[in-house]
Protein backbone atom coordinates (compact mmCIF):
# COMPACT_ATOMS: atom_id res chain seq x y z
CA UNK A 1 0.00 0.00 0.00
CA UNK A 2 1.23 3.48 -0.85
CA UNK A 3 1.87 6.09 1.82
CA UNK A 4 -0.17 9.23 1.74
CA UNK A 5 0.51 12.81 2.83
CA UNK A 6 -1.85 13.35 5.70
CA UNK A 7 -2.70 16.42 7.76
CA UNK A 8 -3.48 15.80 11.42
CA UNK A 9 -4.45 18.21 14.18
CA UNK A 10 -2.77 17.09 17.39
CA UNK A 11 -2.99 19.00 20.66
CA UNK A 12 -3.82 22.19 18.79
CA UNK A 13 -1.05 22.00 16.19
CA UNK A 14 -1.21 20.86 12.58
CA UNK A 15 1.16 18.06 11.56
CA UNK A 16 1.82 16.92 8.02
CA UNK A 17 3.01 13.36 7.88
CA UNK A 18 3.39 10.44 5.47
CA UNK A 19 0.98 7.74 6.55
CA UNK A 20 0.40 4.18 5.37
CA UNK A 21 -3.34 3.57 4.77
CA UNK A 22 -3.20 0.50 7.02
CA UNK A 23 -1.54 2.13 10.00
CA UNK A 24 -3.13 2.94 13.32
CA UNK A 25 -3.03 6.18 15.26
CA UNK A 26 -0.80 4.90 18.07
CA UNK A 27 1.87 3.97 15.52
CA UNK A 28 1.71 7.34 13.75
CA UNK A 29 1.87 9.24 17.03
CA UNK A 30 4.72 7.28 18.55
CA UNK A 31 6.85 6.21 15.61
CA UNK A 32 6.39 9.07 13.15
CA UNK A 33 5.71 12.06 15.38
CA UNK A 34 7.47 11.16 18.63
CA UNK A 35 4.39 11.58 20.83
CA UNK A 36 5.57 8.75 23.03
CA UNK A 37 3.32 9.65 25.97
CA UNK A 38 0.66 7.41 24.49
CA UNK A 39 1.67 3.82 25.22
CA UNK A 40 1.32 0.79 23.00
CA UNK A 41 1.06 -2.45 24.88
CA UNK A 42 -1.23 -5.22 23.58
CA UNK A 43 -1.80 -3.59 20.17
CA UNK A 44 -5.13 -5.41 19.95
CA UNK A 45 -7.67 -3.48 21.98
CA UNK A 46 -7.41 -5.38 25.24
CA UNK A 47 -5.49 -3.09 27.61
CA UNK A 48 -6.54 0.55 27.16
CA UNK A 49 -3.02 1.97 27.42
CA UNK A 50 -3.25 3.61 23.97
CA UNK A 51 -6.44 5.63 24.69
CA UNK A 52 -6.56 9.00 22.87
CA UNK A 53 -9.31 11.59 22.44
CA UNK A 54 -10.58 12.11 18.90
CA UNK A 55 -13.13 14.92 18.71
CA UNK A 56 -13.45 14.56 22.47
CA UNK A 57 -14.35 10.87 22.32
CA UNK A 58 -11.99 8.31 23.85
CA UNK A 59 -10.79 5.79 21.26
CA UNK A 60 -8.14 3.08 21.26
CA UNK A 61 -5.15 4.29 19.27
CA UNK A 62 -4.21 0.73 18.32
CA UNK A 63 -7.55 0.10 16.60
CA UNK A 64 -8.15 3.53 15.04
CA UNK A 65 -6.95 3.96 11.46
CA UNK A 66 -4.89 7.16 11.28
CA UNK A 67 -6.43 8.23 7.99
CA UNK A 68 -9.86 8.24 9.63
CA UNK A 69 -8.69 11.08 11.87
CA UNK A 70 -8.07 13.63 9.10
CA UNK A 71 -10.10 16.77 9.84
CA UNK A 72 -10.63 15.73 13.46
CA UNK A 73 -9.18 17.06 16.69
CA UNK A 74 -6.73 14.67 18.31
CA UNK A 75 -5.73 15.13 21.94
CA UNK A 76 -3.01 12.96 23.44
CA UNK A 77 -1.76 12.78 27.03
CA UNK A 78 0.78 15.49 26.10
CA UNK A 79 -2.11 17.87 25.42
CA UNK A 80 -3.88 17.44 28.76
CA UNK A 81 -1.90 19.75 31.00
CA UNK A 82 1.39 21.48 31.56
CA UNK A 83 3.99 20.25 34.05
CA UNK A 84 3.03 22.87 36.62
CA UNK A 85 -0.68 22.57 36.27
CA UNK A 86 -1.83 18.96 36.37
CA UNK A 87 -5.39 17.93 35.60
CA UNK A 88 -7.19 16.78 38.81
CA UNK A 89 -7.14 13.17 37.54
CA UNK A 90 -3.33 13.36 37.21
CA UNK A 91 -2.97 15.21 40.49
CA UNK A 92 -4.84 12.57 42.46
CA UNK A 93 -3.12 9.68 40.69
CA UNK A 94 0.12 11.11 42.08
CA UNK A 95 -1.33 12.00 45.47
CA UNK A 96 -3.14 8.69 46.03
CA UNK A 97 -0.34 6.49 44.68
CA UNK A 98 -2.42 5.41 41.68
CA UNK A 99 0.65 4.40 39.70
CA UNK A 100 3.77 2.35 40.06
CA UNK A 101 5.54 1.62 36.77
CA UNK A 102 3.24 4.16 35.11
CA UNK A 103 2.81 2.32 31.84
CA UNK A 104 -0.97 2.18 32.07
CA UNK A 105 -1.26 5.72 33.44
CA UNK A 106 -1.62 7.75 30.20
CA UNK A 107 -4.46 5.43 29.17
CA UNK A 108 -6.10 5.69 32.57
CA UNK A 109 -5.96 9.50 32.43
CA UNK A 110 -7.33 9.62 28.88
CA UNK A 111 -10.20 7.32 29.87
CA UNK A 112 -10.99 8.92 33.22
CA UNK A 113 -11.18 12.52 31.96
CA UNK A 114 -13.96 12.02 29.37
CA UNK A 115 -15.63 9.55 31.74
CA UNK A 116 -15.91 12.16 34.51
CA UNK A 117 -17.12 14.74 31.96
CA UNK A 118 -19.89 12.38 30.93
CA UNK A 119 -20.72 11.03 34.40
CA UNK A 120 -19.94 13.79 36.91
CA UNK A 121 -21.94 12.00 39.61
CA UNK A 122 -20.46 8.55 39.07
CA UNK A 123 -20.10 6.44 42.19
CA UNK A 124 -17.27 3.98 42.81
CA UNK A 125 -19.01 1.10 41.07
CA UNK A 126 -19.62 3.21 37.98
CA UNK A 127 -16.01 4.39 37.96
CA UNK A 128 -14.83 0.78 38.09
CA UNK A 129 -17.02 -0.06 35.16
CA UNK A 130 -15.90 3.03 33.22
CA UNK A 131 -12.26 2.04 33.64
CA UNK A 132 -12.84 -1.67 33.07
CA UNK A 133 -10.96 -1.60 29.76
CA UNK A 134 -7.76 -0.29 31.37
CA UNK A 135 -5.48 -3.02 32.61
CA UNK A 136 -2.87 -2.27 35.26
CA UNK A 137 -0.37 -4.92 36.29
CA UNK A 138 0.98 -3.04 39.30
CA UNK A 139 -1.42 -1.14 41.50
CA UNK A 140 -4.23 -3.60 42.11
CA UNK A 141 -6.63 -0.86 40.90
CA UNK A 142 -7.84 0.36 44.30
CA UNK A 143 -5.66 3.45 44.31
CA UNK A 144 -6.52 4.27 40.70
CA UNK A 145 -10.21 4.17 41.56
CA UNK A 146 -9.55 6.29 44.69
CA UNK A 147 -7.78 8.87 42.52
CA UNK A 148 -10.55 9.06 39.94
CA UNK A 149 -13.17 9.29 42.69
CA UNK A 150 -11.29 12.16 44.36
CA UNK A 151 -10.73 13.93 41.04
CA UNK A 152 -14.47 13.61 40.35
CA UNK A 153 -15.27 15.26 43.69
CA UNK A 154 -12.85 18.13 43.03
CA UNK A 155 -14.13 18.68 39.49
CA UNK A 156 -17.68 19.04 40.82
CA UNK A 157 -16.94 21.93 43.16
Amino acid sequence: MKSKITKLSINGFEHIVLVNPDETLVFTLRERLNFTGTKKCCDEGTCGSCTILVDGIPVLGCLTPTVRCVGKTIITIEGISSKEDLHPVQKYLVKNGGLQCGFCTPGVVMTAIPFLDEHPNANREKIKEGLSGNLCRCTGYKKIIDAVENAGKELKV
Binding site: P21, G45, I57, L63, P65, F115, G133
Partner: protein, 306 residues
Amino acid sequence: MEYYHIPSSVEETLSIADNYSGNYTYFAGGTDIQIYRKQKLDTHDHIIDLSRLDELKSITVNKDHLHLGAMTTLDDIISSDIINSNYPLISEAAKSVATPVIRKTATIGGNLLVNNRCIFYNQSKEWRDSIGSCLKDKGDICQVTGGNKSCYARNVSDTATALVALESEIIFLTPSGSIQKPLTELYLPCGIKSNELDEHSILTGITIPIKAEKWWYRKLRLRKTLDFTSLTVAATVDSDRIARICLNGVSMSPVLIKEALKSLTLESLIKQARKNCKTVENDLMPLKYRREMINVYLKECWETLH
Protein backbone atom coordinates in the same frame (compact mmCIF):
# COMPACT_ATOMS: atom_id res chain seq x y z
CA MET B 1 -4.37 5.17 -6.42
CA GLU B 2 -6.32 5.39 -3.15
CA TYR B 3 -6.36 2.41 -0.80
CA TYR B 4 -8.36 3.91 2.05
CA HIS B 5 -11.78 5.16 1.02
CA ILE B 6 -14.12 7.18 3.23
CA PRO B 7 -17.41 7.54 1.31
CA SER B 8 -20.07 9.91 2.56
CA SER B 9 -23.15 8.13 1.22
CA VAL B 10 -24.37 4.57 0.92
CA GLU B 11 -24.56 4.89 -2.89
CA GLU B 12 -20.96 6.04 -3.07
CA THR B 13 -19.99 3.11 -0.84
CA LEU B 14 -21.62 0.60 -3.17
CA SER B 15 -19.96 2.10 -6.21
CA ILE B 16 -16.50 1.91 -4.60
CA ALA B 17 -17.27 -1.66 -3.54
CA ASP B 18 -18.23 -2.45 -7.11
CA ASN B 19 -14.94 -0.99 -8.41
CA TYR B 20 -12.81 -3.14 -6.14
CA SER B 21 -15.00 -6.21 -6.14
CA GLY B 22 -13.44 -9.05 -4.13
CA ASN B 23 -10.55 -6.94 -2.90
CA TYR B 24 -11.98 -4.65 -0.21
CA THR B 25 -12.89 -4.76 3.45
CA TYR B 26 -15.51 -2.63 5.17
CA PHE B 27 -14.51 -0.89 8.38
CA ALA B 28 -17.52 0.14 10.47
CA GLY B 29 -16.06 0.89 13.91
CA GLY B 30 -13.12 -1.31 12.94
CA THR B 31 -12.82 -2.69 16.47
CA ASP B 32 -13.09 -6.28 15.28
CA ILE B 33 -11.70 -6.22 11.74
CA GLN B 34 -8.62 -4.12 12.60
CA ILE B 35 -7.15 -7.03 14.56
CA TYR B 36 -7.62 -9.37 11.58
CA ARG B 37 -5.68 -6.85 9.47
CA LYS B 38 -2.81 -6.87 11.96
CA GLN B 39 -2.80 -10.65 12.18
CA LYS B 40 -2.77 -10.89 8.36
CA LEU B 41 -6.05 -12.74 8.40
CA ASP B 42 -7.62 -10.02 6.26
CA THR B 43 -5.37 -9.01 3.41
CA HIS B 44 -7.62 -7.15 0.97
CA ASP B 45 -5.93 -4.16 -0.65
CA HIS B 46 -8.75 -1.67 -0.15
CA ILE B 47 -10.38 -0.45 3.03
CA ILE B 48 -13.79 1.18 2.77
CA ASP B 49 -14.40 3.13 5.97
CA LEU B 50 -18.12 3.49 6.73
CA SER B 51 -17.66 5.89 9.64
CA ARG B 52 -18.95 8.95 7.75
CA LEU B 53 -22.25 7.33 6.73
CA ASP B 54 -24.32 9.54 9.03
CA GLU B 55 -27.52 8.33 7.37
CA LEU B 56 -26.92 4.94 9.03
CA LYS B 57 -26.60 6.35 12.54
CA SER B 58 -30.11 6.43 13.94
CA ILE B 59 -32.46 5.06 16.57
CA THR B 60 -36.13 5.52 15.62
CA VAL B 61 -39.45 4.10 16.66
CA ASN B 62 -42.30 3.91 14.17
CA LYS B 63 -45.49 1.89 14.12
CA ASP B 64 -44.39 -0.22 17.06
CA HIS B 65 -41.11 -1.08 15.35
CA LEU B 66 -37.75 -0.05 16.62
CA HIS B 67 -35.27 0.73 13.86
CA LEU B 68 -31.52 0.85 14.37
CA GLY B 69 -29.18 2.18 11.69
CA ALA B 70 -26.28 -0.20 11.16
CA MET B 71 -23.69 2.45 12.12
CA THR B 72 -25.32 3.27 15.46
CA THR B 73 -22.70 2.72 18.14
CA LEU B 74 -23.26 0.30 21.02
CA ASP B 75 -22.72 3.25 23.38
CA ASP B 76 -25.54 5.20 21.67
CA ILE B 77 -27.79 2.17 22.18
CA ILE B 78 -26.91 1.86 25.85
CA SER B 79 -27.54 5.58 26.43
CA SER B 80 -30.84 5.65 24.57
CA ASP B 81 -33.90 6.22 26.78
CA ILE B 82 -36.21 4.70 24.14
CA ILE B 83 -34.22 1.48 24.17
CA ASN B 84 -33.66 1.33 27.90
CA SER B 85 -37.33 1.69 28.68
CA ASN B 86 -38.85 -0.39 25.85
CA TYR B 87 -36.14 -2.85 24.82
CA PRO B 88 -33.95 -3.37 27.89
CA LEU B 89 -32.74 -6.71 26.52
CA ILE B 90 -30.98 -4.90 23.67
CA SER B 91 -29.13 -2.51 25.97
CA GLU B 92 -28.24 -5.35 28.33
CA ALA B 93 -26.69 -7.27 25.43
CA ALA B 94 -24.89 -4.19 24.09
CA LYS B 95 -23.52 -3.47 27.58
CA SER B 96 -21.96 -6.92 27.71
CA VAL B 97 -19.82 -6.34 24.59
CA ALA B 98 -16.12 -5.44 24.98
CA THR B 99 -15.39 -2.34 27.13
CA PRO B 100 -17.00 1.11 27.60
CA VAL B 101 -14.33 2.79 25.45
CA ILE B 102 -14.59 0.22 22.62
CA ARG B 103 -18.39 0.56 22.66
CA LYS B 104 -18.04 4.23 21.72
CA THR B 105 -16.60 3.12 18.37
CA ALA B 106 -18.14 -0.35 17.91
CA THR B 107 -21.34 -0.37 15.85
CA ILE B 108 -24.39 -2.59 16.03
CA GLY B 109 -23.96 -3.60 12.36
CA GLY B 110 -20.34 -4.56 13.00
CA ASN B 111 -21.39 -6.54 16.04
CA LEU B 112 -23.93 -8.55 14.06
CA LEU B 113 -21.19 -9.32 11.53
CA VAL B 114 -18.35 -9.90 14.00
CA ASN B 115 -16.04 -12.64 12.70
CA ASN B 116 -16.49 -16.19 14.06
CA ARG B 117 -13.79 -17.13 16.54
CA CYS B 118 -11.67 -20.14 17.44
CA ILE B 119 -8.58 -20.46 19.68
CA PHE B 120 -6.65 -21.96 16.77
CA TYR B 121 -7.52 -19.12 14.42
CA ASN B 122 -7.50 -15.88 16.45
CA GLN B 123 -3.74 -15.88 16.89
CA SER B 124 -0.76 -14.03 15.49
CA LYS B 125 0.64 -15.09 12.12
CA GLU B 126 3.73 -16.53 13.83
CA TRP B 127 1.58 -18.63 16.18
CA ARG B 128 -0.51 -19.95 13.31
CA ASP B 129 2.53 -20.68 11.18
CA SER B 130 4.08 -22.65 14.00
CA ILE B 131 1.27 -25.22 14.13
CA GLY B 132 0.16 -25.05 10.52
CA SER B 133 -2.84 -23.07 9.36
CA CYS B 134 -6.35 -24.49 9.52
CA LEU B 135 -9.30 -24.59 7.14
CA LYS B 136 -10.45 -21.07 8.02
CA ASP B 137 -6.95 -19.80 7.28
CA LYS B 138 -6.57 -21.41 3.86
CA GLY B 139 -5.10 -24.60 5.36
CA ASP B 140 -6.37 -28.11 4.74
CA ILE B 141 -7.24 -29.47 8.18
CA CYS B 142 -9.28 -28.38 11.18
CA GLN B 143 -6.97 -28.22 14.20
CA VAL B 144 -9.83 -28.87 16.61
CA THR B 145 -11.34 -31.98 15.09
CA GLY B 146 -8.48 -33.19 12.94
CA GLY B 147 -10.99 -33.46 10.09
CA ASN B 148 -10.97 -31.67 6.79
CA LYS B 149 -14.62 -30.95 6.10
CA SER B 150 -16.08 -28.42 8.50
CA CYS B 151 -15.00 -25.41 10.50
CA TYR B 152 -16.62 -24.97 13.90
CA ALA B 153 -15.47 -21.40 14.65
CA ARG B 154 -18.03 -19.87 16.99
CA ASN B 155 -20.40 -16.99 16.33
CA VAL B 156 -19.71 -14.64 19.25
CA SER B 157 -22.08 -11.76 18.61
CA ASP B 158 -23.83 -10.87 21.86
CA THR B 159 -26.31 -8.47 20.31
CA ALA B 160 -27.25 -11.06 17.66
CA THR B 161 -28.31 -13.35 20.51
CA ALA B 162 -30.69 -10.69 21.85
CA LEU B 163 -31.90 -9.53 18.45
CA VAL B 164 -32.65 -13.07 17.29
CA ALA B 165 -34.69 -13.61 20.48
CA LEU B 166 -36.60 -10.44 19.53
CA GLU B 167 -37.38 -11.77 16.02
CA SER B 168 -35.46 -8.90 14.39
CA GLU B 169 -35.11 -8.36 10.69
CA ILE B 170 -32.13 -6.90 8.89
CA ILE B 171 -32.12 -4.57 5.93
CA PHE B 172 -29.32 -4.53 3.43
CA LEU B 173 -28.78 -2.65 0.26
CA THR B 174 -27.61 -4.31 -2.94
CA PRO B 175 -27.07 -2.66 -6.33
CA SER B 176 -30.51 -3.91 -7.31
CA GLY B 177 -32.29 -2.51 -4.28
CA SER B 178 -33.04 -2.93 -0.63
CA ILE B 179 -33.78 -6.35 0.89
CA GLN B 180 -35.30 -7.11 4.28
CA LYS B 181 -35.22 -10.51 5.88
CA PRO B 182 -35.16 -12.24 9.26
CA LEU B 183 -31.85 -11.87 11.07
CA THR B 184 -31.71 -15.65 11.56
CA GLU B 185 -31.44 -16.03 7.79
CA LEU B 186 -28.30 -13.89 7.71
CA TYR B 187 -26.28 -16.58 9.50
CA LEU B 188 -24.92 -19.75 7.96
CA PRO B 189 -23.96 -22.83 9.99
CA CYS B 190 -20.35 -22.58 8.87
CA GLY B 191 -17.35 -21.18 10.74
CA ILE B 192 -15.72 -19.89 7.55
CA LYS B 193 -18.52 -18.25 5.60
CA SER B 194 -20.62 -17.44 8.62
CA ASN B 195 -23.07 -15.04 7.01
CA GLU B 196 -24.55 -14.72 3.62
CA LEU B 197 -24.03 -11.02 3.08
CA ASP B 198 -22.43 -11.06 -0.33
CA GLU B 199 -20.05 -8.80 -2.17
CA HIS B 200 -21.72 -5.62 -3.40
CA SER B 201 -24.08 -5.34 -0.45
CA ILE B 202 -24.06 -3.38 2.75
CA LEU B 203 -26.03 -3.86 5.93
CA THR B 204 -28.02 -0.67 6.50
CA GLY B 205 -30.25 -1.37 9.47
CA ILE B 206 -32.11 -3.61 11.84
CA THR B 207 -35.84 -3.61 12.57
CA ILE B 208 -37.16 -4.99 15.84
CA PRO B 209 -40.87 -5.81 15.75
CA ILE B 210 -41.71 -7.29 19.13
CA LYS B 211 -41.52 -6.07 22.65
CA ALA B 212 -40.80 -8.79 25.12
CA GLU B 213 -43.23 -9.23 28.02
CA LYS B 214 -40.54 -11.17 29.84
CA TRP B 215 -36.86 -11.47 29.04
CA TRP B 216 -33.66 -13.01 30.33
CA TYR B 217 -30.03 -12.46 29.32
CA ARG B 218 -26.69 -13.81 30.46
CA LYS B 219 -23.20 -14.04 29.10
CA LEU B 220 -20.52 -16.44 30.30
CA ARG B 221 -16.95 -15.19 30.07
CA LEU B 222 -13.69 -15.32 31.95
CA ARG B 223 -13.71 -11.71 33.18
CA LYS B 224 -16.66 -9.37 33.69
CA THR B 225 -15.32 -7.16 30.93
CA LEU B 226 -13.14 -7.35 27.79
CA ASP B 227 -13.71 -11.03 27.04
CA PHE B 228 -15.65 -12.53 24.18
CA THR B 229 -18.44 -14.88 25.10
CA SER B 230 -18.13 -18.54 25.97
CA LEU B 231 -21.93 -18.83 26.04
CA THR B 232 -24.59 -16.16 25.65
CA VAL B 233 -28.27 -16.88 26.19
CA ALA B 234 -31.09 -14.43 25.48
CA ALA B 235 -34.73 -15.34 25.90
CA THR B 236 -38.08 -13.59 25.46
CA VAL B 237 -41.76 -14.31 25.87
CA ASP B 238 -44.11 -12.14 23.80
CA SER B 239 -47.75 -11.18 24.39
CA ASP B 240 -48.96 -14.35 22.63
CA ARG B 241 -46.88 -16.42 25.08
CA ILE B 242 -44.44 -17.53 22.40
CA ALA B 243 -41.00 -18.20 23.84
CA ARG B 244 -37.85 -17.52 21.87
CA ILE B 245 -34.61 -18.74 23.37
CA CYS B 246 -31.38 -18.00 21.54
CA LEU B 247 -27.96 -19.46 22.39
CA ASN B 248 -24.73 -18.12 20.95
CA GLY B 249 -21.00 -18.63 21.35
CA VAL B 250 -21.54 -22.39 21.29
CA SER B 251 -22.06 -23.00 17.60
CA MET B 252 -21.22 -21.58 14.18
CA SER B 253 -24.41 -19.50 14.16
CA PRO B 254 -26.95 -18.40 16.78
CA VAL B 255 -29.26 -21.29 17.76
CA LEU B 256 -32.92 -20.33 18.16
CA ILE B 257 -35.58 -22.41 19.87
CA LYS B 258 -39.03 -20.96 19.31
CA GLU B 259 -42.14 -22.55 20.75
CA ALA B 260 -45.43 -21.76 22.48
CA LEU B 261 -44.66 -21.60 26.16
CA LYS B 262 -47.50 -23.92 27.06
CA SER B 263 -46.07 -26.82 25.03
CA LEU B 264 -42.43 -26.26 25.98
CA THR B 265 -40.80 -28.02 28.91
CA LEU B 266 -37.40 -27.43 30.42
CA GLU B 267 -36.32 -30.94 29.48
CA SER B 268 -37.22 -30.46 25.82
CA LEU B 269 -35.59 -27.02 25.81
CA ILE B 270 -32.31 -28.45 27.09
CA LYS B 271 -32.54 -31.40 24.73
CA GLN B 272 -33.10 -29.19 21.67
CA ALA B 273 -30.32 -26.82 22.71
CA ARG B 274 -27.79 -29.59 23.26
CA LYS B 275 -28.73 -31.19 19.97
CA ASN B 276 -28.53 -28.02 17.88
CA CYS B 277 -25.33 -26.53 19.33
CA LYS B 278 -22.28 -27.89 17.53
CA THR B 279 -19.97 -27.24 20.44
CA VAL B 280 -16.31 -28.29 20.13
CA GLU B 281 -13.12 -27.73 22.13
CA ASN B 282 -12.21 -24.34 20.61
CA ASP B 283 -12.65 -21.84 23.41
CA LEU B 284 -10.56 -20.90 26.46
CA MET B 285 -13.24 -22.44 28.68
CA PRO B 286 -13.27 -26.25 28.54
CA LEU B 287 -15.89 -27.95 26.43
CA LYS B 288 -17.33 -30.00 29.29
CA TYR B 289 -17.85 -26.90 31.39
CA ARG B 290 -19.47 -24.93 28.58
CA ARG B 291 -21.86 -27.79 27.85
CA GLU B 292 -22.77 -28.04 31.52
CA MET B 293 -23.33 -24.28 31.61
CA ILE B 294 -25.89 -24.57 28.81
CA ASN B 295 -28.03 -26.61 31.22
CA VAL B 296 -27.38 -24.22 34.10
CA TYR B 297 -28.31 -21.12 32.08
CA LEU B 298 -31.39 -22.71 30.57
CA LYS B 299 -32.61 -23.78 34.01
CA GLU B 300 -32.16 -20.24 35.36
CA CYS B 301 -33.77 -18.74 32.29
CA TRP B 302 -36.71 -21.12 32.52
CA GLU B 303 -37.57 -19.83 36.00
CA THR B 304 -37.98 -16.30 34.62
CA LEU B 305 -39.84 -17.28 31.49
CA HIS B 306 -42.32 -19.56 33.11
